[in-house]
């Protein structure tokens, strides 16, 4: 659906996007992650022909961008860096104007299209108030309605749930999953890891303009081959599991083992009490934090070797196999053992 080859964008002396090979396949729910200032928005803008790449090639749905972007844009719905509308017009009038501004779609069916888009995002009952009186969440929903207006095959959404409350976020997530089920490819950027975790099937992680991870989420989050065990009989467990024990922290043991069921049977057979036994899985947060350096919004004093850069001095090349530096996931993402 979207392929870029070594796309680079330079703003003056700043290298915003650096040799990125983005690969979004038809039917994906693709999440683009990365710290603030890592080039997510610039990359999305280049896909839409708003920003022109310094070098590299972009192809969206078979059309080279920006050369033939006008051909592919009618099939794309986009929300880029926050919604926008004419504050002195109502939401409905805004959508009607946007609909009329471009090609395709008749005047007679415009009203129906606008109503349908508003209903999809939960603004069906919106009145004639001008947009300037809308709340942040309503504006966000209106922006989404604008993206959905043309029933696009591809949705490119930059931070789609900004300004929404938890219920609103879930609504939009369900909507995106439903649209994806009907064949819409979704590419979204976010720095809310939980949102991407719950929604996306594939992710790409940008760091200072470079793509540092790009893979299926299921592959990235595959079990690490280790098991976390909580037991009140930690001393005896240590003795029993000698050799496979990687780390002990009070009652909590980290064990190298591919088969939690067999391990459990062994522990119980030895008369040990097992409070909790789970496969270790890597959280998205660990993945992203390991692969990236602090965002551009953090400004540290230049100090040799200190501060900001220690984190990402060695971004793992193949994080799905690399050992995590953190001893265990901090999020409750562990899968209970059978």
């Amino acid at each position: 659906m979207i392929t870029t080859r070594q796309v680079t964008k330079r703003f003056g002396r700043v290298l915003a996007v650096d040799g990125v090979d983005l690969d979004v396949r038809a039917g994906d729910r693709y999440g683009l992650l990365g710290p603030n200032g890592s080039g997510k928005t610039t990359l999305l803008r280049m896909l839409l022909g708003l920003v022109f790449a310094t070098s590299g090639e972009i192809e969206v749905d078979g059309c080279p961008v920006p050369r033939r972007v006008a051909q592919v844009l009618p099939r794309i719905g986009a929300l880029i860096e926050g919604p926008a509308a004419y504050g002195y017009l109502s939401g409905r009038a805004n959508l009607a104007l946007l609909d009329a501004a471009g090609p395709g779609g008749g005047r007679r069916t415009r009203r129906a299209r606008v109503d349908e888009a508003l209903e999809r995002v939960g603004l069906a009952g919106v009145d004639r108030r001008p947009v300037r009186a809308y709340s942040l969440g309503m504006r966000q929903r209106l922006g989404l309605a604008g993206a959905l207006l043309r029933r696009p095959d591809l949705l490119i959404l930059d931070e789609p749930t900004n300004g929404l409350d938890p219920r609103g976020i879930r609504e939009i997530r369900d909507l995106l999953i439903e649209l994806n089920g009907q064949g819409t490819t979704v590419l979204l950027s976010s720095h809310l890891l939980g949102e991407v975790d719950a929604l996306c099937t594939r992710i790409g992680v940008l760091d200072r303009g470079r793509m540092v991870i790009q893979d299926e989420l299921a592959v990235l989050r595959a079990p690490t081959g280790r098991v976390v065990l909580h037991t009140p009989d930690a001393e005896r467990a240590v003795a029993l599991l000698d050799g496979t024990l990687l780390h002990r922290d009070g009652d909590r043991l980290l064990i190298r083992d591919e088969d939690p069921a067999r391990l459990n049977a062994r522990l119980v057979a030895a008369g040990l009490r097992v409070a909790e036994l789970v496969r270790e899985r890597r959280s998205l947060e660990d993945l992203v934090v390991e692969a990236t350096r602090p965002g551009s919004d953090r400004v540290d004093l230049p100090r040799g070797g200190g501060g900001a850069d220690t984190n990402g001095s060695a971004p793992p090349a193949a994080p799905s196999t690399a050992a995590p530096s953190a001893p265990a996931p901090s999020e409750p993402t562990e899968e209970p053992a059978p």
Binding site: R45, L50, L73, P74, Y88, L89, L98, A101
Partner: protein, 292 residues
């Protein structure tokens, strides 16, 4: 995109506020003149104003002369400067471009929008001024108080203005009512076209910034420069090429016969400014990264 732009302008409260103010200025002046019965002596002050006391139906010409030098170009600069920069500031520019609206078409739509506004503004000023004039000063046509036909009054009014180089033989030559309407229409058209240069300059600047105010100020700076150079003898060489130089040539349309020379030069100058700055705007905008 063009009809969307026109619709948007028509539904924007600010458009109507500017139109109200444009129409309000001649009304305000009419009230002062009617109450005090004081008008500038012929040859001084705004064109035509000295003649309105004797014939209120001349007031449309006076009204246009009042708004033309400052008020109208300022509103054009504000509106046209808002063109691309205003859309960029609200963020609508990116949504229009991915809708998709071609960048060239967007520029043309913006220029057409501004020029349509000018045309409507000039027509409204003429109509409200006519009504104001007839109400405040009466029309010499209806009561046969004055023996001078109104068209004669127009000619004498023209001779009275500072621009007046009309030969005295034209003074008092009667104009049929049909001719008068035709010439007012010519005048409206010419004044509208006179704003093309300002609109193109403001639109050009508008493609460089996300600040509508900055673009409008830039266009106004160009106008002020032009007006200053026009009064400077040392700059006499460039005077014929200044965008404001032929603005008052519409007065020639009320002479008998019409003096076309300056009108034609004025139209040509505006066309050149429009082409050059629209081309420059296109060159900049079509290769510009839209980050706003």
């Amino acid at each position: 995109m063009i009809h969307v732009e026109l619709l948007r302008l028509a539904r924007r409260p600010r458009t109507w506020m500017i139109l109200t103010m444009l129409c309000g200025l001649p009304i305000l002046v009419a009230v002062f003149v009617a109450v005090s019965n004081l008008v500038p002596a012929p040859g001084q002050g705004p064109a035509f104003l000295s003649a309105v006391l004797s014939d209120g139906s001349l007031y449309p010409a006076a009204g246009l002369a009042l708004v033309l030098p400052v008020f109208l170009p300022v509103s054009v600069a504000v509106l046209s400067g808002d063109g691309v920069a205003g859309e960029a500031a609200t963020g609508m520019l990116r949504y229009l471009l991915v809708r998709p609206v071609r960048r060239t078409r967007l520029l043309v739509a913006k220029l057409i929008g501004t020029m349509s506004f000018v045309l409507v503004a000039v027509i409204l000023v003429a109509i409200t001024s006519y009504i104001t004039g007839v109400l405040a000063f009466g029309s010499s046509r209806t009561p046969p108080v004055s023996s001078t036909p109104s068209s004669g009054a127009i000619s004498s009014a023209v001779t009275g203005t500072s621009v007046g180089t009309v030969s005295t033989s034209l003074s008092g030559t009667p104009l049929p009512a049909g001719q008068l309407i035709l010439r007012v229409a010519y005048g409206i058209g010419y004044i509208s076209v006179s704003m093309l240069g300002v609109a193109a300059i403001a639109l050009f600047l508008s493609t460089f910034t996300d600040s509508a105010l900055g673009a409008a100020l830039g266009a106004l700076a160009a106008l002020v420069t032009s007006e200053v150079l026009a009064t400077l003898d040392a700059a006499g060489g460039v005077r014929p090429y200044l965008p404001t130089n032929y603005w008052l040539a519409w007065i020639d349309l009320f002479r008998q016969p019409i003096l076309w020379h300056n009108v034609q030069r004025g139209l040509a100058i505006q066309a050149v400014y429009a082409l050059v700055f629209l081309g420059a705007a296109w060159a900049n905008f079509s290769t510009k990264d839209v980050t706003g």
